[in-house]
Amino acid sequence: MAHNWQPDFEKLVDEHQSMVFSLAWRMTGDRGLAEEVAQDVFLELDRHMTRIESPEHALNWLRRVAMSRSADALRRRRVRGVDLWVEIEEKHGSPAEERQSPLETRLEQLLSTLPEAQRAALILRYQEDMTPEEIASAVETPLATVKSNLHRGLKLLRAKATTNLKEYIRGL
């Protein structure tokens, strides 16, 4: 069945642009940079189209490359000496969050302050609804490390939320 599937680039962009863009935005914390990353990811997909075997393969490939390109973009920024965290704080009030509730916006802000590996694990877990095994495969990291990152990340996020978002969340 996988052999009969013919990838259609435009259709893949339509289906997955929101996923790729969201992963990149949450990883980089910068809308402009996320758009650049998303463009690069799809252009890379175009170069690899002959090797994509199925819709699932395309989805997993896009997730993996989006995470990896976002991490590269963050590294390049750090090398250039841009203070990313200050930038994230500044940019997270942009108009695209209009439809989000204040709690959701604040939670995303707190997420952006987590260490990169923990943030990546939580993004894939809660945005993409992936299991730890799937995350481990996507980011090519041992399962134990992924579970540890999820555990520590969630714990840290809870602690930050306890201090900053007490008025919003009952389950803390």
């Binding site: 435009e10 969201s22 935005w25 758009e35 463009q39 175009d46 959701e104 939580l122 809660y126």
Partner: protein
Amino acid sequence: MDFEWPDQPEKFDEFEQELKQAMERRPAPPSLKRRIMQKRSARRTERHHTTMIWWQRLAASLLIAGVIAGGFGYRQIEERRKGEEAKQQVLTALRITNQVLNNMNRKLAEHDKPENGK
């Protein structure tokens, strides 16, 4: 590390539910797809252009190599022709010399005849 990690969404606690809700996929900017398609098209045109340039370079190189080889071949043929021509001229000169010597021999022989008759 000794902890249980829930794999099923229904096991999410209230905080995780909030987190999941906060982390829904964001819609991509409407212009993103257009820009991707434009860049893809530009890249393909560029790639095509680059390929064309390489083909043109290859064709020009082959043409130059052909001209050089042709010139070299022509020179060799011309040299051979000239050599052949020179050889023919030498042979002609030898033939003429031979003829002249034969004539001289014949005249000398005729000149010696009356002496022999005495």
